[in-house]
Structure formats: C-alpha cells, structure tokens
C-alpha cells in the first residue's frame, strides 16, 4: 500500500494515536448534540437547548464543565479500585474499536487482516467494565444492571457475529478495508454500475446486525441494564462527575463506532457508489462520505431509541435465541449456497 506521506514510524503512530484520541470525544459530542439534544427535542415537541451559543451548540461545553465541577463520590462500601477502573475499561473498549475503522483508502490507524474479528472481540470488552461497575458500586440496583448487561452480552454477541459472517463470506475477507473494496468492485448478478453495497445482498444480515447492535449499545428497546425508570441508571447509578462523563462518552462513542462498522460492512464505507475516484482524493473525501453514512445509520439507532418502549429481560433473551440466532444461521447458509452456485 502506498502511503500519502512518508513519515517515520513513530511520527505516523503518534499522529494516528492523537487523531483516534480526539475522535472519541468529538464523535460522541456530534451524536449527543445532533440526536440527543436536537432530534429528540424535535420528536418530543419541545425546544431543546437553544440559548448557549448558536443553536445551542455550546450547551455541550457547559455540560462538560458541569460534570468536571461535580464532587467525585465513592460509596462507602464500594470496591474503590475496581470502581475507578470500570469507566476506563468501558472507554478503552470504545477507543480500541476506532483502531480498525477505515475512513479512506489509507486513512486507518491499523489495517488488520482480521479486522472484523478484532472489532467484535474488542466491542465485547465494554461489558467487562459494566460488570465491574455494577459489582464494585455496592448497590443493588447497579448489581442488577450489571448482571443484566452480562446476560444481554451472551444473548446478543452471537447474532451480531453470525450476521457479520454473511458479509465476511461474501467479501471473502476479514479485513475491513478489504470489505469496502469488495463492495466497490463487486457486482450484483453481473450488474456492477453501483458496485455491491452489501445492504442490498445482505439485507437480512443488516437488520440482524442493527438489532443486535442496539442491544449491544444498551439503547431502548434493549436498555434494561440502564433502565432509568426501573433501575434508575443501573450500573452507573453511583457514578458522579467525570467518571459518569466517561460512561456517557463511551456510550455515544460506541454508538458512533457501531454505526461506522455498519456503514463499512453494509453501506460501503468511504467509497462513493457509482464514482471511480482516485485513491488520494478519496483519502480526503472519504472521511466526509463515511461521516454521512454513519450519521444516517446513527439516525436509525436513535430514532428507534426515542420511539420504542423497553422490553423485559426474559423477552429479550427469547427474542435473541429463538428469532435472531436461527435467522442469522439461515442467512449464513443462504449466503454460502449463493456463493457456491454463482
């Protein structure tokens, strides 16, 4: 692969690391402002923040400052060390996800050959942090939330991975860049003018992936680990100030990362359908194209979040084991048959 700039390894790594570090707060701010503040307010026929700065954009800065001012409280019975580590673990899982997300032909932190595998493995790390938070808080509500999160992980990791398998079979690679290129150069039964965005041929997998991601992100209708009206915040009930902010950022950062994964695997990532553009131009345009696709996917995630009520934990498990997993297995079989036949 030709790199745009020839830099020493340590400089390149430094730049990439800095970018990835900056990306989590920025992306979660974008999502919070666009969806949580503006779209939610619009859907619920209220105004949302509009006084702080132009269109309320500075509200986020105000919120962040507010969180930093809060006292850092540990419950008396808490396991202090684990209690402090938990939000960092959750945020670390989000951070690690960004490592393999491609934003252009060369705009990627680390182009791993097993990118999909890595992303799936790393994303489930966050549940460890949630369990730690739930256990260490020494709070019954937090414990219930943490255990629910663990149960949810087992139920939903499986359909998530199985749904991705369909894409992997079709693209014949685990490399996320390779998946994008497979979509750019692919064709649907000989018709190749718009390439082959896998959302067309893998629509079932896309649906399963989005549902499972919703559960993975603990967004309504699968937000039982948080369940504001029932567990009053679940695993993060005892967290205040900056530690709560870390959870909050991780929540939206992960939502962004999953939207990015979905757009890489199903919408063609940084590639513009129907246009044959030079790689170097795509390196510049790619992030923009990617952002557009991510926001589109995120819009659906949050649309569902603001509309639907919450399922019960046992109903969720039933749905995962009896509906999603058989469906995703069927999808793999179908994809395999088509792959062999055509």
């Amino acid at each position: 692969m030709t790199t745009l700039l020839a830099l020493p390894y340590w400089q390149e790594t430094g730049i990439k690391l800095g970018l990835a570090l900056a990306v989590i707060p920025t992306t979660s701010l974008i999502l919070v402002y666009l969806f949580l503040f503006k779209m939610m307010a619009f859907m619920q026929s209220r105004l949302g923040p509009n006084d702080t700065g132009p269109y309320g954009t500075l509200q986020l800065i105000a919120e962040a400052i507010k969180f930093l001012q809060k006292e850092d409280i540990h419950p008396a019975q808490a396991d202090r060390r684990v209690f402090r580590m938990a939000p960092v673990v959750v945020l670390a899982s989000t951070f690690l996800l960004y490592v393999v997300l491609p934003a252009g032909p060369d705009a990627i932190v680390q182009n791993l050959d097993t990118g999909v595998f890595y992303a799936m493995a790393v994303s489930s790390l966050s549940v460890l942090g949630i369990l730690m938070a739930g256990w260490a808080s020494a709070n019954k509500y937090a414990l219930l939330g943490g255990l629910r999160a663990a149960g949810q992980l087992i139920a939903y990791e499986l359909p998530l991975i199985l749904a991705v398998m369909g894409v992997v079979i079709q693209a014949e690679t685990l490399n996320l860049q390779g998946i994008v290129i497979a979509q750019a150069t692919g064709e649907i039964f000989g018709f190749g003018a718009i390439g082959n965005p896998f959302i067309l041929t893998q629509f079932l997998a896309f649906l399963i992936f989005m549902i499972a991601a919703q559960a993975e992100l603990t967004q309504t209708p699968f937000d039982m680990p948080v369940a504001e009206t029932e567990l009053v915040g679940g695993f993060h009930i005892e967290y205040t100030g900056f530690r709560f902010l870390l959870f909050f950022m991780a929540e939206f950062g992960t939502a962004f990362a999953f939207a990015a994964l979905a757009s890489v695997m199903f919408l063609g990532g940084w590639w513009i359908p129907g246009f044959d553009v030079d790689d170097n131009i795509l390196n510049v345009l790619g992030p923009g194209v990617m952002l557009g696709k991510i926001l589109l996917v995120a819009f659906f995630i949050f649309w569902v979040r603001f509309t639907y009520p919450r399922l019960r934990e046992d109903q969720l498990q039933k749905f995962a084991w009896k509906v999603l997993i058989p469906l995703s297995l069927a999808n793999i079989v179908l994809t395999g048959i088509f792959k062999v036949v055509f």
């Binding site: 939610m40 859907m43 619920q44 026929s45 209220r46 019954k140 509500y141 219930l144 309504t220 209708p221 937000d223 039982m224 369940a227 504001e228 009206t229 029932e230 567990l231 009053v232 603001f306 509309t307 639907y308 009520p309 919450r310 399922l311 019960r312 934990e313 046992d314 109903q315």
Partner: protein, 390 residues
C-alpha cells in the same frame, strides 16, 4: 405402589437427592430491594420493600406514610370553606374533583342545593380535571415502560386543559373554586368555544397515544398478562375506578350513585375490559379520557342559565348530623364522611381515597413477577402519592 423395580426407585431417589443438593449449593438467598421512597417510578415517596429471588419478586410490601400530612385532623380545626384548600392537595392532579364530594356532603347536611347552572359547571370542571389527570397517566405509563416520547406529548396537551381550568378558577393546580351552595364565579366569555377546541385536541392526543403505545408490540408484550387482577379479588381488595373496571366489573359511581351532578343529563357509557391486566387498565383509562371529552362537549351545549349560587348565610354553620358522599374521581371512588356538631367547622372528617385501596393489592398482585413488571404494575395501578397519604 406401581410395579417399579428397586433399581428404578433407587435411580429416582438419587436423582431427587442430586437435584436437592444442587439447589442447596446454588441457593443464592433472597435479596431485599427497596423500591423507593426515592424512586422515579413511585412518583412520590412510596416505598415497596421487595424480597427478590434473582429478578423475581417473592414478597412485595408497600410501605406508605412518608408524605402523611394529617388532612383529616387539620380539617377539624378549620371552617368548612377553609377545608377545600386542604382537600385540593389530596389528589393533586385532579384537584377540582377532590372538592366536589366534600362540598356535596356539606350541602346535604345544610339541606341546600346548588342551582342547575352551578351543577353543570361543576360537572364540566370535574370532567376537565379527570382529563388532565388521566392524560398524564396515558403518557407516564410510556415512561414507566421505557418510551420517553409519550410523556412529553402528555404534558403538552394537559397544559391546554389546565389553561381552561385556570381561566375559570384562577388556579392551575389548586382551584379552590367550589363553594357550599354553588361556585365562586361564572365562566368567562368565550370559554365554551375554547374548551370545545381543546376537547378536540385531547381526542387527537388520545389517538396519538393509541398509535404510540397501545398499538406497539413491545408495549403489549410488556403489559398484556402482567399483573392480572380477577374481578372477585379486585372487589375483595376494594379497588375502584378504572382499576376495577379493567377487571370487568361494570361499576361507575357517576352512573350508579349520582349525587346530583349533571352526568344523568348526557349520553355516555362506562367502559370495561375483561382481561384485568396492565394493558386493560391502560386501555380503559384511554377510553375514559375520550368519553370524558364527549361528556364535556355535550355539557357545554346545554349549560342552563340562572344563578350560580344558592342562598346560603354569610357565615356557614352546618347543622349537626352525618353525611357520606362519594364520587367517581379520576382515580376511583373518593368519599368524605363528614360529622358535624353544628359548629363552623366539621367535628370529624374521614376521607376515603381511591389510591389507598388501590395500592393495597400490591402484595397480592406482585407475587412472582419480575422487577420490570413491578414498575409496569405500579404504573398501571396509577396512584397519586398525596392520595395515598392524606
């Protein structure tokens, strides 16, 4: 004894023993979870002490009294007109409806009757406070189950009804408008037309709730079959209002024991649902809100002319006697047992509030449900904390 061999019997016994051993080894013990007194789902300070086995409730016990304000006692040291100020604050969402039965009881003791116009306006305000109260329930139930949007719609549209109440009475929450022998004031000019358009909007709101919640599969999955109360149990625990009607008991004090208000002048029906589950309770309240808008519409058409106050002395002294009047309030049967010894104020007031009885079924209905269902059932039983702890 059937012809089983010793071998089979031994196998059976050892299997049972193995099961028992596993159960003992894995016995996690019960966990006590206090839901409340500071918990968003109890909208106030109700406490429910739950014994949990995993996420399943073994025993749930409601503990009340965190907001007891002693209204029955306070009424004894006040004059009759002053009492309504307190009574407003019992069920704070349907406050005008609280005043009516007390005033009616006092009127019965004094043997005065409000003129027809006052009775009609009383009925209209009564139904308006029912709509304001139930509208909030219709949205709030969504929040209890996790849907954030309906409650904002509910607050938005309830505001319109509160505006109408405010325009007549001067108070949004605590009108304190009912007087012995009639009402404080007449309705303002143009109010009838405005109210009519508000009623139209409330019907649209009910349709929205039907789209957002009643038709939603997740809402149905969470509510259907959750917290089923059979009719005989409901009657046994003294449930009233929509909770009773959702169990299939056709019982409505507005129709069955009308204390003189204008409900018998209009055409309306009592809604019941045979299921008795949380969904039925939501559905019945939704229909009741619609029915209330229709009642208001019809009443607005036929308000009779005439005075709004009967002839009562300036200083109200109620002759000695006892009276119990109950009406069908938004939450259920609300009654006042007033004992007078001929003084300026009541000698004793016993207040029968619907939420107190409705919440008493909690230990029965919450056996064996999951923690999320506790919230669903609490939401669907619909209590106002001020109505539990007077």
């Amino acid at each position: 004894m059937t012809a089983t061999s010793d071998r089979e019997q031994m196998a059976y016994v050892s299997a049972q023993a193995a099961d028992a051993r596993v159960n003992v080894e894995l016995d996690t013990g019960d966990m006590t979870l206090n839901i409340g007194p500071q918990h968003p789902a109890t909208h106030g300070t109700l406490r429910i002490a739950c014994q949990l086995d995993g996420e399943q409730v073994v025993v749930a016990e409601p503990i009340m009294g965190y907001m007891h304000r002693g209204y029955e006692k306070l009424c004894e040291v006040r004059t009759y007109p002053q009492c309504t100020t307190l009574i407003n604050r019992i069920d704070w969402l349907g406050s005008f409806a609280n005043e009516v039965p007390f005033i009616l009881a006092a009127e019965r003791l004094m043997e005065v009757e409000a003129p027809p116009r006052a009775q009609w306006i009383r009925t209209i305000l009564f139904e308006l406070s029912r709509i304001a109260n139930l509208a909030l329930f219709l949205g709030d139930m969504g929040v209890q189950i996790g849907a954030l949007t309906p409650v904002f719609f509910a607050f938005r549209d309830r505001e319109r009804v509160l505006n109408q109440i405010e325009e007549v009475t001067g108070g949004r929450f605590h009108p304190n408008f009912d007087r012995i022998g009639g009402l404080k004031d007449d309705i303002p000019k143009g109010w009838i037309e405005e109210t009519r358009s508000v009623m139209e909007k409330m019907r649209t709101f009910c349709d929205e709730m039907e789209d957002l919640l009643v038709g939603n599969e997740i809402f149905q999955a969470r509510c259907r079959g959750v917290g089923v109360i059979p009719p005989e149990v409901a009657l046994g625990y003294g449930l009233s209002g929509a909770n009773l009607r959702a169990s299939g008991v056709d019982w409505d004090l507005r129709r069955d024991a009308n204390p003189g208000l204008a409900w018998d002048q209009v055409d309306w029906r009592v809604w019941t649902h045979p299921d008795g589950d949380s969904f039925a309770r939501y559905w019945v309240r939704l229909q009741e809100t619609r029915e209330a808008t229709r009642i208001v519409d019809q009443l607005l058409d036929g308000i009779p002319s005439g005075p709004i106050m009967a002839k009562v002395p300036r200083i109200i002294k109620v002759p000695a006697g006892e009276a119990y009047i109950s009406t069908e309030n938004p939450l259920g049967e609300m009654g006042y047992y007033v004992v007078s010894k001929g003084d300026l104020g009541p000698f004793r007031v016993k207040i029968r509030t619907p939420s107190f009885n409705n919440i008493s079924i909690v230990p029965w209905v919450m056996k064996g449900v999951y923690v999320p269902d506790v919230i669903t059932i609490l939401g669907s039983l619909y209590f106002i904390l001020g109505d539990i702890d007077r």
